[in-house]
Symmetry: C2
Subunit: 417 residues, 2 copies
Amino acid sequence: MKDMLGREELITVEEALQLLFRYAPFKRPAEVSIPIKNSYGMVLSKDILAPVDLPAFSRSTMDGFAVRSSDTFGATEGLPAYLTLVAEILMGEKPEVILQKGKCAKIATGGMLPEGADAVVMLEHTQQLDKKMIEIVKPVSPGENVIQAGEDARKDERVLKSGHRLRPQDVGALAGLGITDIWTYEKPKVSIISTGDEIIAPDESLQPGKVRDINSYTLAGLISGAGGIAVKKGIFSDQYGIIRDVVEHSLQDSEMVLITGGSSVGTKDLTAKVINDLGSPGVLFHGVSLKPGKPMIGGVVGTAPVFGLPGHPAAVHVCFEIFIRPAIAIQSGAAESQFDKKKRTIQARIARNISSSPGREEHIGVSLEKRNGEIWAVPLLGKSGLITTLTRADGTAVIPMRKFGVQEGDIVEVTIF
Amino acid sequence: MKDMLGREELITVEEALQLLFRYAPFKRPAEVSIPIKNSYGMVLSKDILAPVDLPAFSRSTMDGFAVRSSDTFGATEGLPAYLTLVAEILMGEKPEVILQKGKCAKIATGGMLPEGADAVVMLEHTQQLDKKMIEIVKPVSPGENVIQAGEDARKDERVLKSGHRLRPQDVGALAGLGITDIWTYEKPKVSIISTGDEIIAPDESLQPGKVRDINSYTLAGLISGAGGIAVKKGIFSDQYGIIRDVVEHSLQDSEMVLITGGSSVGTKDLTAKVINDLGSPGVLFHGVSLKPGKPMIGGVVGTAPVFGLPGHPAAVHVCFEIFIRPAIAIQSGAAESQFDKKKRTIQARIARNISSSPGREEHIGVSLEKRNGEIWAVPLLGKSGLITTLTRADGTAVIPMRKFGVQEGDIVEVTIF
């Protein structure tokens, strides 16, 4: 099979990714305004500017006494400062008092500083001598134990950038700023088209020769975990006109199309022909030096990525992680951190020798176990078509392209499911 | 403040966790039967047994020719075996043919083996000489390139265990087995009660002395990310009767209760009194040697965990990761893998010296950056009450209890947000 450069051999994973991402950023979903309570995990489509100073007033960060700091200068255990208690500041109330020289006011964490005060002495550094007299044994500098008005965010300052994926604390910050609705990108919709005359739905009764649809269920979960919305189109017969029609419709109502199921050579050629016929640039690669996942097809129609996935469940998983997850991330509009992938991988020692062909990247299902405080990856043996190998696995270990394999005890990178 | 053992000093994080998890497994949510398409991330409440053999019939794992393996023994490039092509097996069809000695049938990946055949020769090891004659240049052993009926899962074999949290490939396996509905635990409901006379909702207009509710928005996202359902109860005044009523109601309609907002000493004592008065064992710890998070209160009422969280947003985050996330995991009914926490942590080098008091576990907000291929954690400086420190952070670095601090370049463990 020839790739687009006319060579006979399979292209590498890296080359395939380069061919594909040359067409990034791909088709984007619409922008939509949503309430912050529904915004967890969504991606901002506009910068967020602080509409007000945060906090709106100077607040104490300690339980103690609001003071003029100059009244405490030089105070020690041996030579304390003595201040007159003139008020207790109630939570949620604006203090009535204006603090004069030599006076102090009781204040709790989060309380509003009275006019005149510029610092708070911690309760632990004071002693109340009687109803009116407070002994201070440690000086405070101006601003000590106080968050100034606007110190957290100043009005019109950018607090969150367009392209940021909202985490719980970011939504908390929006709430704190009084922002209740925000502009985000909708999640990219990814169509799943199952093909194959042998494939039936899980609730159909099983006739000899038929198998139930596994991949569209696995893909739906992977898509939603990657921040997309899976749109299941159904199961279709391996016929050019039928597949072409459903791919064409899917390109109209979703941002990406996955065609899965057909494992035979004929079906794959049919998938490639549909992608090429629907628009340029069409098929970018057809066959990758990857195990499992060699028959992977990647293409772009207009600005929408279209993938033809191998039929083996294990290959579907590997190809999703390599090609589809990063494509969904780009379509989400998210400026993904370089540490996001790091979050899904750990280092482990491989528990047995694995041989591999150099020039091919290989992914092996592994279960993880701890031995003497170290993490070991135990390769799960089993034919590549088995689905229970995947349900028993904790992740997949990668044997890089330039290696002949790995020796027992070698460190490998494991992508955790 | 005295802990339950009557000591004056604060207890360690480890001691607090031991006191709490002595009462595990806590209150559990109900079991419910759901369709598999809604089951991603849910926890099985019953074992799953295969209702049928999977696959239901022997299938080819290659494109090629179904053969009697004995017909190929000894075949080489120089001395090929010659077999007569008698049929092409169509995908999804039961083969009509019964394969006799010296015959073969064309088969695609996933195709059903005809009666009589016991192996498949890969297309690459054959040559079609004419319409009827196939040359075989490599022998196959019995079962080669075939998945046997029941090889993936045998009828009545356990394929997934009770307590397993369903991943995409597990749902795929259920679909493949024809299982469309399963028994799971409902997600645990976690009530969030915001207290504090100074706290107002984000959509209320801001008066001097008031601040908007941040923590209940942060907590709602953290709870849902940990596999729970957040139930926001609203904002309540710091009065014993009011707080007691809402906690009592929350204990009836949820599996865990979080009380957040009150940072002052008085409010914390009120929270502790409510927990103690509502049922035994009551408060288990009140104050932990942890920064931020020292005022944390942990208790159990009957079998439901009840927490009093510090008011500082950074402390809420740290206390959630240490105490609440593992409690939700237990209530989910999930047999959590020991590698789940690993997934959220990475090793990094700290970018500056940080001093710390031994005997106290300290968590510092950090941003991550790559320098010469290594990951460095840059501590974010800022007063502990600031929320924008958290929005700028990629995670938190831990300085363990037994250390005086860390030196620039030391390896630290970072929990990624």
